[in-house]
């Protein structure tokens, strides 16, 4: 390089930094840059149409996908008549509340202590078929064989009433998760680990003090540890308390390439309890057995019993006391409010195309030089474009999801699918979150457009990083690998749509196709935001470094 050219370059640098300084004057405010980009965006008819098409496609596919079951019940073969009567828990969530209860009323404060010496399970044999199954009894107890069900549970329970969906607190031994204290369906605390057996019995104690129920466990009946306390607001003075047993649907997942086949069948838990000690005012003299939630078309085997001999009680039941989760292998054929938003994949591709072109089009026509002459702060140009594209995408996404969700939900209900209820806050998070996810994906596509400068490359990159990982995880990869893909790639952003949380105390055949993601909603959304942020920073650096 000659000395002359060095001088020229230095002069050029000086001029550029001078122009950057003038740019910071109020004349070129960020608002004006945004306005300029907004005018550019709205004046290209194709881009506006693209966003409208994105919203329409999302709506169309969402509602089509939501309503496609064809079941009918009753004399009119209506879908609505098929809707299962799912109990609703104290927190407003759909719950499974089906177990065998051996009860006595407890008036006022008191406590119940038992020793559990055994918990065994029967599982249905060969009841499963490939595909989603699990609607009620399939085999009677006679055809079942011994097995292990990790979340089979038996112990003692204090419940407000025998109506399914009542407030309760229970302390239990489980098939594979040690002693647990659970209350009001969604709360779960671990106690002593290990399996229960005659050689290693477990003592359980529940004490009631007003609305507060405390659970204690012990391995020897002498040293007691507090497992947890539950506050059940509005608990009546007289509650039902006693031993119980239940056992959920047993899912065996057989993984193979391209998905997994699930064998599901009911299971039954039988427990033996003795050394039963009651304190407080127990007005009844004898124990009463009840198949809670167990009449007619019940979840589980529908068979439950109890036997008394000496001071010991044998109790056997089937079902679960837990929240209902979506997907095959749950007790009810259920669906979620986010199911009608599936069309967002289609809309997302249209949005990504428009957003990427929003930047790359400037390079194709050389307009970028005019743009940068007008706004020498290149970062502002990038930011303004990202904001405008994300804003348009957010609007399109919000309109589409706000219409698709209620339409789809009512269509699904008319077809006999039980839509798992969620709070209004969750619903807003799902709808607004879906729009926000599309907006962040649009910003990511703008950044890719600035990095790659070619429409085809930018669009491909955006689709490959956002949509393809999702496709791989629902259709190609085994579950563990798929979960890592949905944690680490921008496709994690779809987690924002999950309305029913993952409950560790429910074994479900969870998959993204049934609306279950490995990350919590906001964490998954954060992963997508992180990718967008990194891409935008990289784009800003390259934009400043490179000649336009």
């Amino acid at each position: 390089m000659t000395s002359g050219s060095v001088v020229t370059e230095q002069r050029y640098r000086r001029r550029r930094s001078a122009s950057r300084r003038t740019a910071s004057k109020p004349g070129a405010s960020f608002g004006q840059v945004i306005r300029a980009e907004l005018i550019k965006f709205t004046s290209v008819r194709g881009w506006v149409i693209g966003m409208i098409v994105a919203a329409l496609l999302t709506l169309l596919f969402g509602v089509f996908l939501a309503g496609n079951a064809s079941i009918g019940c009753g004399p009119t073969r209506s879908g609505k008549a098929c809707l299962p009567k799912v109990p609703i828990g104290p927190g407003g969530e759909a719950v499974t509340d089906s177990f065998y209860l051996v009860r006595q009323p407890l008036a006022g404060n008191g406590s119940l202590t038992v020793r559990v010496t055994s918990l065994t399970s029967l599982v249905a044999q060969g009841s499963g078929q490939a595909g989603p199954v699990g609607q009620g009894p399939r085999n009677p107890l006679a055809n079942m064989s011994k097995g292990t069900v990790p979340w089979s549970k038996a112990g003692i329970i204090i419940t407000a009433s025998t109506r399914p969906g009542s407030a309760y607190a229970a302390l239990m031994v489980t098939g594979g998760h040690g002693v647990r204290m659970q209350y009001d369906y969604i709360h779960d605390t671990a106690g002593l680990p290990g399996k229960v057996s005659p050689a290693a019995p477990r003592w359980l104690r529940l004490t009631r003090d007003g609305d507060v129920i405390s659970g204690y466990d012990s391995a020897d009946g002498k040293h007691w540890d507090l497992v947890g306390t539950a506050t059940l607001a509005g608990l009546p003075r007289t509650v039902q308390a006693g031993p119980f047993a239940t056992s959920p649907i047993d899912n065996k997942v057989l993984p193979f390439f391209g998905g997994a086949s699930v064998q599901s069948g009911p299971s039954q838990a039988t427990a033996v309890l003795d050394e039963i000690t009651r304190r407080g005012h127990w007005p009844a003299a004898t124990w009463t057995g009840d198949n809670i939630g167990g009449h007619g078309n019940t979840p589980g085997t529908g068979v439950g019993y109890f036997r008394q001999s000496g001071g010991a009680i044998t109790v056997s039941g089937s079902g679960d006391i837990a929240p209902v989760v979506p997907g095959p292998g749950s007790f009810y054929p259920t669906t979620t409010i986010e199911q009608p938003l599936t069309g967002i994949f289609v809309g997302l591709i249209a949005v990504v195309v428009v957003a990427a072109m929003f930047f790359t089009a400037e390079y194709r026509r050389g307009l970028i030089r005019t743009t940068l002459a007008a706004t020498p702060s290149r970062i502002r140009v990038l930011a303004a474009k990202a904001v405008v594209a994300a804003g348009a995408a957010f609007a399109a996404g919000l309109v589409a999801s706000a219409i698709a969700a209620p339409l789809g939900v009512s269509r699904m209900q008319n077809q006999g699918q039980f839509v798992l209820p969620v709070s209004i806050l969750t619903e807003v998070r799902v709808l607004v979150g879906t729009a926000a996810m599309v907006a962040v994906a649009a910003a990511l596509a703008v950044a890719l457009g600035a990095i790659l400068r070619r429409s085809a490359a930018a669009v491909t990159a955006a689709i490959v990083v956002v949509v393809l990982p999702f496709l791989l995880s629902v259709a190609v990869l085994p579950v563990t690998a798929a979960n890592w893909v949905l944690r680490l790639t921008p496709a994690a952003g779809f987690s924002i749509e999950q309305s029913i949380p993952n409950y560790p105390q429910v074994d479900s055949v969870a998959s993204p196709a049934s609306g279950t993601y490995p990350l919590p909603p906001w964490a998954g959304f954060g992963v997508l935001c992180l990718y967008a942020a990194v891409a935008l920073v990289l784009a800003a650096i390259l934009l400043r470094r490179r000649d336009a």
Binding site: G46, F61, L65, N68, A69, S70, L254, P255, F256, F257, G258, Q339, T342, F345, V346, I349, A350, V352, V353, A356, M357, T360, R364, R454, S455, A456, A457, A458, V459, T460, I463, V464, V467, L468, F470, L471, L472, V474, A475, V476, L477, P478, T480, A481, W484, A513
Partner: protein, 257 residues
């Protein structure tokens, strides 16, 4: 013939073509190897994996690059205005599309062969170490096995058909970004939608009649459970590609450039 030579010259002298071809091979083999590493057959369990299909899963990614490669020769001409020069030199417009498609298709056939052979080689190196060995009834993948040969050759054809489909859509749409969006949408959205459709009738319809049916050519086990047979599936994709090329050719002939 002149049209072919002209198109070959154009494609050869754009550096992106070579990069895209190399990228396609790298992505196909790389993703295939990653997916194989993620799968494991624990000792003492029955594994139902279709190892041939597993080893060729990189095609899912490779086809995205093929789409870009096949879209650019035509769309770039529209964005620069070069198309007017091309059509002035070769007034028979369908010949232009045919020549571009033939060149791209040929290149994809060649690069696809390399990618598929690379994937199978990776499978021979990776799979036995992940429990897919003779003890579980898995033999090392070999082209001497007729099903594997069909899957391998079919995958190469699949990639070439994706190139044809992309080329046809490019002639219809003309803008590279929108074309790539449409092609990738057609390729990727149907499987995603199928995963969500609960209605078995529609699920089966999508699996049978969408371009994704072409990937059934990779299946070597459980053929009876497929919604559509391997060759029939590839035929479905061929119909999509033919339809796209016909529509593209017609659009090219009728419209002003």
């Amino acid at each position: 013939m002149d049209a072919l030579r002209a198109e070959w010259l154009k494609l050869r002298t754009v550096s992106s073509s070579a990069w895209l071809l190399a990228g396609m091979v790298a992505l196909t083999v790389g993703v295939g190897a990653t997916v194989m590493t993620a799968n494991r057959c624990p000792a003492g369990t029955t594994c139902l994996e279709d190892t041939t299909k597993l080893s060729l899963s990189g095609v899912q990614f490779g086809q995205a690059v093929v789409a870009v490669l096949a879209v650019l020769p035509l769309c770039n001409e529209y964005s620069t205005g070069m198309i007017r020069v091309t059509l002035a030199a070769i007034p028979r417009r369908p010949a232009v599309l045919a020549a571009k498609t033939a060149i791209v298709g040929g290149l994809v056939l060649a690069a696809g062969t390399v990618a598929i052979l690379g994937s199978l080689l990776a499978a021979r190196l990776i799979l036995p170490g992940h429990g897919f060995d003779a003890a579980d009834g898995f033999r090392p993948l070999s082209l001497a096995d007729s099903a594997t040969l069909r899957a391998a050759a079919g995958s190469v054809l699949y990639l070439a058909l994706v190139a044809l489909l992309s080329s046809g859509i490019a002639a219809l749409v003309r803008d590279s970004a929108v074309t790539v969006g449409v092609v990738l949408g057609v390729l990727y959205l149907f499987p995603v939608i199928a995963a969500f459709v609960g209605n078995p009738v529609w699920h089966r319809r999508i699996e049978r009649y969408s371009p994704m049916a072409g990937l059934n050519i990779q299946a070597t086990t459980g053929l009876k459970a497929l919604a559509i047979g391997p060759w029939a599936g590839l035929g479905v994709l061929a119909i999509w590609a033919t339809a796209a090329l016909l529509a593209g050719g017609l659009a090219l002939s009728r419209r002003d450039a």
